[in-house]
Amino acid sequence: MPSHAMLTWQLVCESRLEPMRQLCLADVSADRSAALADEQLRAFVVLLSAHFQGFLRDLYTECVQSLVRIMPESLRIGFEFQCFGGLKLETGNPKWDNIRIDFDRFGLDISQPFRTKPESERLLTQLGLLNRARNAVAHRENNRPDGVAIDSEHAAIWFAACDTIARELESVMDLHLATIIGQAPW
């Protein structure tokens, strides 16, 4: 069974991000100037980053709660204080370093399963490019961020990379937490 975070992410992809991406792919026409098309593309980049960060925060919370439920009631709040203090994903962008630091708190090396897959390096590179593009848009840098082109082709690649990382991360945490608690975590 997928986590609530994954169900929400899938719903977001289907109902919000994909229609927005399709809008970005549409040809420039009399109703849609090149400037507007560029604005929509930039909006998509920020939305993608925001929703991906939302998924990560939701998944982290679900992971914490799956462990909290097997604890005595009096110990739960102390564990939650530890889990939510100084979270990187609360204030930072969904960079791989931030994801790794937060999810490694559960007692695993989250990078390890990613290292064993040949396509992982490409995925994490694309995630890095998305974050750079997101910052360029959010901070209104007009020039291309370090040579990263913000176009519909890259946006589609970043969207796919986020989706693949989301599924992989959920799968890794599912397996890890099931081993710890002896039952499905969600």
């Binding site: 609530h4 109902s15 739960r76």
Partner: protein, 86 residues
């Protein structure tokens, strides 16, 4: 976040965190039905205004603070939020 769940505690509500010697906090975000069996999770802010800290807890881990209870005359201040909304 997209969730079908509807928050039962409004943002800004004053609550007391159970098992903490009466630590008071404010609800700052409804995180959704992310707990076991769809339990509602709330993000709370506590500590000083200059250095706020945050934690996410289940609905059954908090109860109305005395401040909030006074403005909710029909709700018994000894009952948890989870009990009072059932």
């Amino acid at each position: 976040m997209i969730a079908s769940a509807t928050p039962r505690i409004a943002n800004g509500s004053h609550v007391v965190i159970k098992h903490t010697n009466g630590m008071q906090a404010r609800v700052v975000e409804f995180r959704g039905a992310l707990g076991p069996e769809g339990t509602h999770i709330y993000r709370l802010r506590f500590g000083s205004k200059s250095r706020p800290r945050y934690v996410e807890v289940r609905e059954d881990q908090i109860e109305w603070s005395p401040v909030e209870s006074r403005s909710r005359s029909k709700v018994n201040s000894e009952t948890s939020i989870a009990d009072s909304v059932r």
